[in-house]
């Protein structure tokens, strides 16, 4: 158009070059040892699947209600503890076979379903009691959920202790599967990724194809108008909060089996959800999927490939997450698919 040089191109150019360098480095390392590359990639993808289940609920609640549920991580952790407690106390399952039995499919599924359902109800109660009458006051709602997360975190330490526990997967399931010439954990690859894909597809169908989804989409754009058209928007809100909390609960039970149930997971997964939606854009399901994959891959590649000759920088891997967020915000302040509130 004109000869004037547009300065805004500079950060994009720098980022594109940096991105190309990173891809080249990973490709170079990948060609050196394809086996490790696949395992690291699968680590990233399975982690991304878990991130997606957690952050889908987070972003759904935000998209419709503009509520940043800072207690989302606490709901995640609480679900893990509930499932673990039921599995241990009611089914006598233990990783130590001297003091308990191995898990069966039932003694894995039932605690998962109960924990997920309980967390869904907890979410609705939280919304009805504390958030409903503060609608439209984003910050106050965020502070309320922070307060709830503080109380929940302390109470979970009081009731479940500070030791890392793990929910046992059914003993009947295979330990690993063969894929691209490497053996990889069955639970991570098949169950968690499968659950994430199923949830993504289900949410997509519900939001794009059903009447409830139509109302949600309309509600995201204009709450007052939807309400004026005779839709009971409060019921929709409660429903959305239920689903959002449900997803946190499901992720908690899955994550508790895949990784562990321990104090600190609440803030870790809250941070992961935050980063995912900052990258993907608040309220966007597709954004959550892309953000999850980006975060998962960055985490797992950085853990392995941040070694240059003898210089081991893997300790600094967390900074790459920071760089990822900064890079995204520099180009798109509202995230990939974010829209102004």
């Amino acid at each position: 158009m004109s000869s004037q040089f547009d300065l805004r191109i500079v950060p994009r150019l720098v980022l594109a070059l940096a991105g190309a360098a990173v891809v080249a480095w990973i490709a170079y390392k990948g060609l050196q040892d394809g086996r490790i590359f696949w395992i690291v990639t699968l680590n990233g993808i399975t982690l991304a699947a878990l991130f997606f289940v957690v952050s889908a609920g987070f972003t759904l609640i935000f998209g419709l209600m503009r509520v940043v549920n800072m207690a989302h991580g606490s709901l995640y952790l609480l679900a893990g503890y509930i499932a673990f407690t039921i599995q241990t106390n009611n089914y006598g399952v233990s990783s130590n076979l001297l003091s308990g039995s191995p898990a069966t499919v039932t003694s894995w599924i039932v605690p998962l379903v109960i924990a997920t359902g309980v967390i869904g109800v907890v979410g609705v109660v939280m919304q009805q009691v504390f958030l409903r009458w503060n609608q439209g006051q984003d910050l106050r709602q965020a502070l309320i959920t922070i307060a709830i997360s503080v109380i929940l975190a302390d109470q979970m330490v009081a009731h479940f202790g500070g030791i890392a526990e793990s929910i046992q997967q059914p003993a009947a399931w295979p330990d690993s599967v063969q894929l691209f010439g490497v053996r990889y954990g069955f639970f991570r690859l098949v169950v968690v990724v499968g659950a994430a894909v199923a949830i993504g597809a289900l949410l997509f169908l519900v939001i794009k194809r059903t009447r409830f989804g139509m109302i949600i989409r309309a509600g995201v754009d204009d709450r007052a108008m939807v309400s004026a058209l005779g839709v009971n928007i409060q019921l929709v809100f409660a429903g959305a909060f239920f689903i959002g909390a449900l997803l946190a609960g499901l992720a908690g039970a899955l994550g508790g089996t895949m990784i562990a149930v321990q104090p600190g997971n609440d803030s870790a997964f809250l941070l992961d959800s935050l980063i995912v939606v900052i990258i993907g854009g608040m309220g966007s399901l597709g954004g959550a999927a892309i953000g999850s994959v980006a975060l998962g891959l960055v985490n797992s590649y950085a853990d392995v490939y941040l070694k240059f000759g003898t210089t081991d920088l893997t300790n600094y891997a967390i900074l790459l997450t920071f760089v990822l967020v900064v890079a995204m915000l520099a180009v798109r302040p509202l995230g990939l698919f974010g829209r102004p509130a």
């Binding site: 504390f130 006051q137 910050l139 922070i146 109380i151 009081a158 900052i278 967390i318 509130a341």
Partner: protein, 365 residues
């Protein structure tokens, strides 16, 4: 209209400064009244926590930015300083403590400016989340990079000779924290009246209009964040002197939230609230561990976080302006009863909304 936190006439400002002077004198004399345990565990702690909260309240009340990044920034100051001086763990570079303190503040302020540049284009809840991410990432950074944080923290950090050993003699540190608090308070009040401060408040109230008037909104917000970082770094340095050590566990998410709790309990929109909140926090922190009865697993001397969480919840639900807000709304109600409704004098709740969503308030009017 530039509505500072409580536009008030000159006549009502003079008693305010007198009150501040009296309070400062009272605090200066406090060591002769209270025992050294109370002085150290309650007052000194309240002063440095108050400075940390003040950095948050400065950003929220004058800039409309609720930042959870202050803990991350003060961690950077504390760790920088602790690595540069003689200490166990960490780099132990043996710098002069005063030079190391200056370096810590400079590094943390520079880091704050960088964070400000990143976050300055985001508003309200987005800003809150980005700054929370900053704090958490700083925590994980120091938790993982053990060459900079020792194993489980840097201990026996050498303070300047003036401070001495705060465990043996808490007086010098108390007075240092007191002077720092007064300087921070007066400094912020002064800054609010400079052209920069006025422009910042204009941006808080209506960024779009300020942009249209030719102000560089993002730059102002980033610079304000840098000022907030400077204040937070003072708190970070004091906290290291206070505990004589610095560890990743001291700057985790819980501490981030604690600083927010202090600011909210005191009052997010009044600078005084920082120290009031910090005092309440220190009192509860100290005495709940002694007096709290055991109620099953639910309550007990260990359950300080539950108590402070419930208080936080009640304050947020009942009074968004915190303790100062309660006092002010009583005051405003009395004034309104005397004068009748005044146009433009919003309630505390309006100020809260306005700081978060200036546009929403605009469209509602």
């Amino acid at each position: 209209m530039i509505a500072g936190p409580g536009p008030r006439s000159r006549s009502s400002r003079i008693p305010q400064w007198v009150a501040l002077g009296v309070l400062a004198l009272f605090l200066a004399g406090a060591p002769s009244v209270v025992d050294s345990f109370t002085l150290s565990q309650i007052l000194t702690k309240a002063l440095w926590l108050g400075i940390a909260a003040a950095s948050l309240i400065f950003l929220s009340s004058y800039g409309g930015m609720i930042s959870l990044g202050q803990t991350g920034i003060y961690a950077v100051a504390g760790f920088t300083m602790a690595n540069l001086v003689h200490a166990e763990g960490g780099k132990n570079l043996g710098w002069d403590p005063v030079a190391a303190t200056a370096a810590g503040i400079v590094v943390a302020t520079a880091f704050g400016l960088l964070c400000g540049a990143i976050a300055s284009r985001s508003y309200g809840i987005y800003f809150l989340m980005i700054t929370l991410a900053i704090s958490v990432i700083v925590f994980y950074f120091f938790a993982q990079v053990t060459t900079l944080s020792g194993y489980g923290g840097i201990r026996s950090v050498t303070p300047p000779a003036v401070i001495g050993n705060p465990v043996l003699n808490p007086l010098p540190l108390y007075y240092t924290a007191l002077v720092a608090s007064i300087l921070v308070y007066v400094g912020i009040r002064y800054l609010a009246r400079t052209p920069f401060g006025i422009a910042l408040q204009g941006i808080r109230d209506d960024p779009a209009r300020m942009q249209a008037l030719g102000y560089n909104v993002a730059l102002h917000r980033a610079l304000a964040f840098g000022v907030g970082a400077f204040i937070a770094s003072i708190a970070g340095i004091l906290s290291v002197w206070y505990t004589t050590q610095v560890s990743p566990g001291g700057v985790n998410v819980a501490q981030t939230i604690n600083i927010l709790i202090i600011a909210v309990v005191g009052g997010l929109y009044r600078l005084e609230g920082a120290w009031i909140g910090a005092l309440v926090f220190s009192l509860i922190d100290n005495y709940s561990r002694v007096w709290l009865p055991n109620v099953g697993d639910w309550l007990g001397p260990e359950r300080f976080e539950t108590v402070i969480g419930v208080i936080f919840l009640v304050i947020v639900l009942a009074s968004p302006g915190g303790l100062v807000g309660i006092w002010e709304s009583v005051w405003a109600r009395r004034n309104r009863a005397m004068r009748g409704p005044v146009e433009g004098s919003g309630t505390v709740a309006d100020v809260v909304d306005e700081a978060v969503e200036p546009h929403a308030v605009q469209s509602r009017r």
